[in-house]
Amino acid sequence: MTRSLILGGVLSALVLLAALLSFIWTPYDHTAMNIPAKLQAPNAIHWLGTDHFGRDILSMIMVGARTSIAVALVAVGIGMGLGVPLGLAAAAKRGSWLDEGIMRANDLVFAFPSLVIAILITAILGAGAINAIIAIGIFNIPVFARVTRGAALSLWQREFILAARVAGKGAARISAEHILPNVANLLIVQGTIQFSLGILAEAGLSYVGLGAQPPLPSWGRMLADAQTMVSLAPHMALVPGCAIILTVLGLNLMGDGLRDWLDPKLQGGRA
């Protein structure tokens, strides 16, 4: 276990815990407005202060963690769910039109400016968490397809694949039985990274008003709400900002740590 894995794991676990806890308990109802008590700095009653509607920021952060995690998780799920099979197929049929087609389509998706497309998607489908998921998920597909294909291609060169082919196993079966388990580590690592990018992307989309819609709290929207009030109530920007930073930091550290931990090549290479 590396230091970064532990630190990252602890940070991520804290965020996850806060999100889970919010299902059964938050200090206050995160939607309850109390306009006379608005913009309070952190104090004994509201540990992280209140927002411009007098809502309890701690409660909103906790429920917001749920939103961030859910959006990013499902988006990564979409990316993996579609990208990994595509990558496996491309690698299995290396050099074929299928491979070529998948890779070119990947390049094409990469070529589209992601934020512009996200904005377009929400212009077409309307703003909302689901559409944010779609927008983020779409751009996760080529990432996973590419990573999977790259790793799978080198695995296909290995002799144990040859052995499986000698046993008469087809490409699909080999991909499922031999390739997938051996790229799993890589996918887990990439998954954590995409997960953290998803959280950033959700925050960005919500910040421009295209992510989760009220009353569902979202860190990005909290930042958007806070933006005109930075000099008035800095905690409104600092608290969600730090929540995002710590979560992303935690996930990235965990991803790095996992990579070192899971990759035998680097094992022992640490001073």
Binding site: R158, E159, F160, L162, A163, A164, R165, V166, A167, G168, K169, E177, H178, P181, N182, A271
Partner: protein, 535 residues
Amino acid sequence: MTLLEITNLSLSIGAFPILRDVSLSVDPGEILAITGESGSGKSLTALTILRLLPNCTRLSGHLSLEGQDLLSLSEEQMCDLRGRKIGMVFQEPMTALNPVQSIGDQVMETLLLHSSATKAEAEAEARNLLDRVGLPAERFPLSRYPHELSGGQRQRVVIAMAIAMRPTLLIADEPTTALDVTTQAQILDLLRDLVLDYGMGMIIITHDLAVVADMADRIIVMRKGEVVETGSTAQLLANRRHPYTQKLFAASNHQADLPTAKTTDPQDTPLLEVRNAVRDYPLPRKRLFAPAEQMRAVDHVSFALHRGERLGLVGESGCGKSTLTRAILGLEPLQGGEILLDGTPLSGKGLTAEQRRKMQVVFQDPFGSFNPRHRVARLITEPFHGVPDAPTGQERDDRVAEALSAVGLNPDDAGRYIHQFSGGQRQRIAIARALITRPELILFDEAVSALDVSVRAQILDLLAELCSAYGLSYLFISHDLHVVRSMTDRCLVMQKGRIVEHGKTEDLFATPQHPYTTSLIAAAPVLPDLATGAA
């Protein structure tokens, strides 16, 4: 005066002792060979001399070059020494050169670094050096890049770099292991000539005793970080005092006790018959709409293998041996000809389950041929896939146990993972996997090439045992003539995709007909007959 003097050198990396009390010396003009099995500390001894060790090493003992204490030198002084006084040639020519720099620049770099030569002078000298190592100007201008050279040619560039400053000591760590026999012979000749020409001292590290015997003035045998025996070549070859040395030489010269082949009736349907097989690979198009050109990897190959027969296939790297194997296994389509297994032709869509049951394969790489995520039981039962009457449950377990026992492993090993086994054990598992369907024919594609001599000897013995126990027929593919000679009844010689010669193994080795076969046999280093000197 001795050139290099090492006394009581000990080295540990982290908590692990690697070298223990190693002492050796090299005189000018002398070739010292260090030999021993994999992991015995040969390379680290060489790296210690250059002081290019990994981090966290602890070093003790005495190390001096031309009377100068190397261990007391600062890193800067060592940098000055490396390349100027000590040249080094590493094993892997494919990766030892910077891929983005021309060979000329890389050779010149040593010169520019250690002398006050101008660029033009360095260029001229680099040219000389390349000429000297056998890379003439007309075919190998300085502007060539490493990827444009073959492995042997790259190794020559590395050698040119190492001798650029006429170092007093040249260290060559397995300089030819990655090369073909014929290329190996050329490189070894080159090194020997250089030592003679320049009066350098040389340390050559190799696990190939035949090379050792051929090259060295003196030999050091290492085991587990210790020097077990040292002496002049003639003396050491004759005496072999230490039991380990004896074992090593015995293993190198190992003759498996192959049961005599059943005489086969040539009128029988051959177990495997290859008729005019052709395999083309499309080359990348030269121009966008130019027709794709073909690379013919297997060129009208025909042969037959009868029941009970052990057929060898030798040839240089890249001549098409593996391609042919894959075609026989139905993994690659043929562009011409056909392959019959027990009289029935293989269809284009791969083998039927019955054909697969009859024919199994063992690959070269003991580390790459198993899925690291599966347990041994699952790994070795993989050939049962799609076999209609594959055993299940208890019967399957029994078959696993039987196969493991047959290759000398414990049936309990079925529950372990592959990383828990050594290379030799892995190759046993690979053989167990091939045996589990009780096949009639096994293909061995370089099945022992990656193994240490002593392990190799064990595996060869195992094969011989299996031959007598099961009456195996196999196709044994290797570039190692010595092994093919001891393991087969009949032999094919392949060059550039064609079978250039075939015949009874003994006849073929004794009286080669084709010039290619002759050159192959000539290039292969052989251990001198040791029988006389055996104590």
